[in-house]
C-alpha cells in the first residue's frame, strides 16, 4: 500500500497540491484524471520522491519515501515520466539493464539478465534491443522506457501521462500491456491520464483531482458519470454505455 | 498591474535622477585634489575639471549607456536573454581586432583602430549567428554557451599573438575597462557610441519586429535581413568603440538589460531609455567606488563591475529561482 498523508506543495502563492490524503492499492489499475493544473503530475512526482513536498508524508509499504534508503524504495516503486529525452547514447538493452540498478547496483546477476530479457520480450523490443534509443520512433522509445520500468520489477508502477505523443494504436497497445501487468503479475499500476475514456475502460479505480485536491475517488461506474465529470472539469458531458463500457462524450 | 504601470512610468525618471546625482558626485570626486591645485592657481583647478573630470564623467555615462543598449538589442535580435556582446564573442573579437590593428598598423589613428576592431567584432558576431543558426539544438543556455566558447577561441588567439609580440600585459589592460586615463581629447570617440545608441532608440520598433523572427517581420513588412544586420552593426560598433577607447566592461550588456526587463517587461522601445540610464548609473557608481576604495590609487571599473554587477545579478537569479529561468 502507498499511503499519502496530507501532502501539500506550493510554488509561491499557488498551492498545486493541497493537503491530499490517499491510499493507493496493492494491485490493479488506478487512474488519476483532472483538468490541466489540477496537481496530478505534481502529486505523482512527490509520491515518487522526485519532488520534495512542503508538508505531509508518503510511505510505500511502510517506508517513508523521503527518509528511507533510496535503493529500498526503488525496489518497491518505479515511475515513468513524460520526458523521453536522454542525453546518454545508449541502446534499448542498455536502458532496460538500468532498470536492474536497484537490485544489482551496476553488476548484473543471472537473475537480472533474465529479468531484462523478459522485459524486452514482454514489450516486443527484441528486434530493437541493440538499436540506440535516439534512433527510435516516439512509440518505440516509450516502450523501451516501459521495459526499463518492468525490469525494475517493482510492485508499484507509476506513469505520468504515458499516452502523450502516442497514436491510438500505440496508446491502446500500451494500455493493454499495463492492464496485463496488473492482471498477470499482480502489480499496482497508477497512471495520470488525460483521456478519460481510456481511464474508464482500463481502470479499477479512478481518482479525479481539481485545484490540487481530490474531488472524486471510486470505480469507473461512480466517477465516469455526467454529474461527477461536470464537477471535475466544469463542462458538460454525456456518458454512454458502449459495449458494456462507460464512454464519455464531451465534444460539443 | 497598476503598480507595475506606475513603476514603468517612474522608472526612467528615477534612473535619470540617479545618473544626474552620480554624475555630480563623479565631477566633485577628488575635490581635495582640485583644492590642492587651487592653491597654485584657480585657472588650473578649472582646467582639471574641464580636461579631466567632465570628460571622465561623460565617458562613463556614454559607455555605460551604449553597452547596455547594445546588449538589449542583441538580446532581442537573438531572441535569447543571455546573448550580449560578452556572451556572443563580440567583445573578444573586438579585442582581437584592436590587437591586430595595433600590431599591423602601429601608430595609426584611433579611428583606424576603431574601424578594424569593429570589423573584427562584426565578423565575430556574424560567425556566432552563423553557428547558432546552423545548429538544431537551440536551447536557451546552449546558445550563449556557444558564444562563450567562440569568445574563448578569439581570446586564445589574441593571447597567443599578444605573447609573441610581448603585448600580454597590454591585452589584459584592454580587456579590463579603466577610465583613469580619460582626459579631454582621448574619449570623444565615445560620442559615436552614444549616437549609435540613440539611433537604436529611434528604430526600436523595427528591432522588435526583427526579433520576432523572419516570418513575423516579413509579414508586417519589415526587412528582416536589413534590420538584423543593422542591429548587429550597432552592437559591434558600440563594443568596438568602448573596447578601443576605455576597455571592455564585463557582462554590462548582459546584466543591465536583464535587470531592467525583469522589472519593466520586454517592450524594447519602452525599456530602452531606462536600460541606457541604468547602464550609465551602474558604470558611474562602480567608477566612483573604484576611485575611492583605495584612494589615492584606483581600481579599474571593469574589476568593480565584475564584482558588483555580477554579484547583484547572481543574487537576483538566485532569489528569483525558477520563475526567472522559465521567463
Amino acid at each position: 500500500m502507498i499511503a499519502i498523508d496530507s501532502v501539500t506543495k506550493s510554488y509561491g502563492d499557488a498551492t498545486v497540491v493541497d493537503a491530499v490524503s490517499l491510499t493507493l492499492p496493492d494491485s490493479g489499475v488506478t487512474s488519476i484524471i483532472g483538468p490541466n493544473g489540477a496537481g496530478k503530475s505534481t502529486l505523482l512526482s512527490i509520491v515518487s520522491r522526485i519532488l520534495g513536498a512542503d508538508a505531509g508524508v508518503v510511505s510505500v509499504e511502510g517506508l517513508d519515501v523521503f527518509s528511507a534508503p533510496s535503493r529500498e524504495v526503488a525496489k518497491r516503486l518505479s515511475i515513468l515520466r513524460q520526458d523521453q529525452h536522454l542525453t546518454a547514447r545508449i541502446t534499448v538493452r542498455e536502458l532496460v539493464e538500468f532498470g536492474r540498478f536497484p537490485h544489482s547496483h551496476g553488476r548484473l546477476t543471472p537473475e537480472c539478465r533474465e529479468a531484462v530479457a523478459s522485459a524486452i520480450e514482454y514489450c516486443d523490443l527484441a528486434e530493437l534491443a541493440d538499436r540506440p534509443i535516439h534512433q527510435l520512433s516516439g512509440g518505440q522509445r516509450q516502450r523501451a522506457f516501459v521495459a526499463m520500468v518492468l525490469a525494475q520489477d517493482t510492485r508499484y508502477v507509476l506513469l505520468d501521462e504515458p499516452l502523450n505523443n502516442l497514436d491510438m494504436v500505440h496508446a491502446t497497445g500500451l494500455m493493454r500491456l499495463l492492464r496485463s501487468l496488473a492482471d498477470d503479475h499482480g502489480k499496482s499500476i497508477v497512471l495520470v491520464l488525460h483521456d478519460i475514456n481510456y481511464a474508464s475502460v482500463y481502470s479499477d479505480r479512478i481518482i479525479a483531482m481539481r485545484g490540487g485536491a481530490v474531488v472524486q475517488d471510486g470505480p469507473p461506474t461512480e466517477v465516469i458519470t455526467e454529474a461527477a465529470l461536470e464537477d471535475v472539469y466544469g463542462m458538460e458531458f454525456r456518458v454512454h454505455e458502449v459495449d458494456g463500457e462507460r464512454i464519455a462524450a464531451y465534444y460539443r | 498591474m497598476t503598480a507595475r504601470t506606475t513603476f514603468a512610468a517612474v522608472a526612467p525618471w528615477a534612473a535619470a535622477a540617479l545618473v544626474l546625482l552620480l554624475a555630480v558626485v563623479s565631477l566633485l570626486l577628488g575635490a581635495a585634489d582640485v583644492n590642492v591645485w587651487a592653491l597654485f592657481t584657480d585657472a588650473e583647478a578649472w582646467q582639471v575639471v574641464t580636461v579631466s573630470r567632465v570628460p571622465r564623467t561623460a565617458a562613463l555615462i556614454l559607455s555605460g549607456a551604449a553597452l547596455a543598449v547594445a546588449g538589449l538589442i542583441m538580446q532581442h535580435l537573438a531572441r535569447n536573454r543571455f546573448v550580449a556582446p560578452s556572451t556572443a564573442g563580440t567583445v573578444d573579437a573586438a579585442g582581437l581586432g584592436l590587437l591586430v590593428a595595433t600590431i599591423s598598423f602601429a601608430g595609426s589613428s584611433i579611428m583606424v583602430k576603431i574601424v578594424i576592431a569593429m570589423l573584427f567584432a562584426l565578423a565575430g558576431t556574424a560567425l556566432f549567428i552563423g553557428v547558432i543558426q546552423r545548429i538544431q539544438f537551440k536551447d536557451v543556455i546552449f546558445v550563449p554557451l556557444v558564444g562563450l566558447v567562440l569568445g574563448g577561441v578569439f581570446a586564445a588567439i589574441a593571447e597567443f599573438i599578444a605573447y609573441r609580440f610581448n603585448l600580454t600585459q597590454t591585452l589584459s589592460i584592454w580587456m579590463n575597462g579603466d577610465f583613469s586615463g580619460v582626459i579631454q581629447g582621448r574619449y570623444e570617440t565615445l560620442w559615436l557610441a552614444g549616437a549609435v545608441a540613440l539611433i537604436a532608440y529611434l528604430f526600436a520598433n523595427r528591432f522588435t519586429a526583427a526579433g520576432m523572427g523572419r516570418e513575423f517581420a516579413t509579414n508586417i513588412g519589415v526587412n528582416y535581413r536589413a534590420w538584423m544586420t543593422t542591429g548587429l552593426v550597432i552592437a559591434a560598433m558600440v563594443t568596438a568603440v568602448v573596447v578601443v577607447t576605455v576597455g571592455a566592461i564585463p557582462f554590462l550588456g548582459l546584466i543591465v538589460p536583464n535587470i531592467v526587463t525583469l522589472m519593466l517587461g520586454d517592450n524594447l522601445r519602452r525599456v530602452l531609455p531606462t536600460t541606457a540610464l541604468t547602464g550609465a548609473a551602474l558604470v558611474l557608481a562602480c567608477d566612483i567606488l573604484g576611485r575611492t576604495l583605495i584612494y589615492p590609487y584606483e581600481i579599474a571599473v571593469g574589476t568593480i563591475v565584475g564584482v558588483i554587477g555580477s554579484g547583484v545579478f547572481l543574487v537576483l537569479i538566485m532569489r528569483r529561482r525558477n520563475t526567472y529561468a522559465a521567463a
Binding site: R71, E94, G106, R176 | E159, Y163, L293, Y297, R321
Partner: protein, 358 residues
C-alpha cells in the same frame, strides 16, 4: 500476450523469442552480430581504441623526451620526465573532472572551468594570502598551503554548487547562468584583492603566487599526484553510479540512487581535481571540453569506465603534443594554454556544425 506495437522499421525479421534466448546480455559482452556494425562489437572497438590511444600517447611522450636532446641526456631527461609527469597529472585531473561534471549537469559544453571552478580556486588562494598577508603566506610550507587551499576550495565549491543545484528543481538554466557569471565574479574579486593588497605591482604578485604552463609548480607534483590518485580511485569506484546519473536526475532517483549524496560526493571530487590542475599550471579553459568530447566521439558509449579512461588519455596526449610543438616548433614563443584553447575551441565549434548536418 499483448502486442502493443508491430515494428515496421526493425532491420531483421528474426523471431523475437529466439533472439532473446541466445543474446548475451551483459554490457561487457559482445552484442548480437546482426546489429548495425557501429554497435556490433563495443568491447573489441574499445580495446582497439585504447590500444591506439596508448600507442599514440607512448609515441608522443617518446618524441617529447628525445626531441633535440643533443646528447645532454643526464640534464634533459630528468627535467623532461618531470614535465611529462606534471602534464599527465594535469591532463588526467582535467579530463576526469570534466567528464564527471558533464554527467552531473547533463551538458556536454559545460566544464568545471567554464563554470568558474578554477577561478574559484584562484580566489580561495588569493583570499588566504589576503587575510594572512603576503609575507606569512610565503613563509608557510607550499605543501601545507596547497592542502589548505585545496581543502577550502573543496568546501567552497561544493557548498556553492550544492546551493545552486538546490534540490535539483531549480533547473539547469539557472545553474549555468550562475556559473558563467560566477566565473567573472570570482576573477574580478581576485584582481580586486590584489589591487587592494598591492596597488602598484599586482601583476607581478599574481605571477609570483600562481602557476602557469610557463612556470609549472613541480614542487607540488607529489601531493598533487596523491590527491589525483585518490580522486581517480573514487571516481572509478562510482562509475556505475555515474552511468545511472547519465540518465538524468529523475531517472537516477527513481532507480534508487541517493541523488543528493552522490552529487555532493562527486562535486567534492571535481573540486579536488580542479585544485590539483589549477595549482600546478593555472586555469586552462578548453582542455576538458576537447578531451571529453573527442572521447565521446570515439567511444560512442555511455559507460563511464570507458569514457573516463579515453578522455584522460586524450587529454594527456593533447598536452604532451602541445608542449612538444611549443618547445620545438614555436621555440617557446607562445603559451600552451593558448594553443590548447585555440585547438579545443575550434574543434568544438566544428563538432557542433558537423552534428547539425548529421
Amino acid at each position: 500476450m499483448p502486442r502493443p506495437e508491430r515494428t515496421s522499421s526493425s532491420p531483421a525479421e528474426t523471431s523475437p523469442r529466439e533472439t532473446v534466448a541466445t543474446v548475451p546480455v551483459g554490457p561487457e559482452r559482445a552484442h548480437r552480430p546482426s546489429a548495425p556494425s557501429e554497435h556490433a562489437h563495443p568491447s573489441r572497438r574499445t580495446a582497439l581504441l585504447f590500444a591506439g590511444l596508448a600507442l599514440a600517447l607512448g609515441g608522443a611522450i617518446a618524441l617529447f623526451l628525445t626531441w633535440g636532446v643533443d646528447g645532454h641526456w643526464d640534464f634533459a631527461l630528468p627535467r623532461r620526465l618531470e614535465q611529462v609527469a606534471a602534464l599527465a597529472v594535469v591532463g588526467i585531473a582535467i579530463a576526469v573532472s570534466t567528464v564527471v561534471f558533464q554527467t552531473l549537469t547533463q551538458n556536454r559544453i559545460l566544464t568545471p572551468s567554464i563554470m568558474g571552478f578554477d577561478a574559484l580556486y584562484v580566489l580561495v588562494a588569493t583570499t588566504l594570502v589576503f587575510f594572512l598577508g603576503a609575507a606569512t603566506a610565503e613563509a608557510i610550507d607550499p605543501l601545507a598551503m596547497f592542502a589548505l587551499n585545496a581543502g577550502l576550495m573543496m568546501g567552497a565549491a561544493t557548498a556553492l554548487f550544492r546551493w545552486v543545484l538546490g534540490d535539483g528543481t531549480r533547473g539547469l538554466y539557472t545553474m549555468v547562468l550562475v556559473g558563467v557569471i560566477a566565473g567573472t565574479f570570482f576573477s574580478s574579486l581576485t584582481s580586486f584583492m590584489f589591487r587592494v593588497m598591492n596597488p602598484n605591482e599586482f601583476d607581478t604578485l599574481m605571477d609570483q603566487l600562481f602557476a602557469s604552463f610557463n612556470a609549472i609548480d613541480t614542487g607540488l607534483l607529489g601531493i598533487a599526484a596523491v590527491l589525483l590518485g585518490a580522486g581517480i580511485v573514487a571516481v572509478y569506484w562510482m562509475a556505475p553510479r555515474l552511468d545511472v546519473l547519465g540518465l538524468g536526475r529523475e531517472r537516477a532517483i527513481t532507480l534508487g540512487l541517493p541523488y543528493q549524496r552522490t552529487v555532493t560526493t562527486l562535486l567534492l571530487i571535481v573540486a579536488a581535481l580542479v585544485s590539483v590542475s589549477t595549482a600546478l599550471v593555472g586555469p586552462i579553459t578548453f582542455l576538458g571540453l576537447l578531451a571529453a568530447n573527442v572521447a565521446y566521439q570515439l567511444t560512442r558509449t555511455h559507460r563511464h569506465v570507458i569514457n573516463l579512461t579515453a578522455a584522460a588519455l586524450i587529454s594527456v596526449l593533447a598536452l604532451v603534443l602541445g608542449q612538444a610543438l611549443l618547445a620545438h616548433v614555436l621555440h617557446f614563443n607562445g603559451t600552451l594554454s593558448a594553443i590548447i584553447n585555440v585547438v579545443g575551441g575550434i574543434y568544438f565549434i566544428v563538432l557542433l556544425l558537423r552534428e547539425a548536418h548529421a
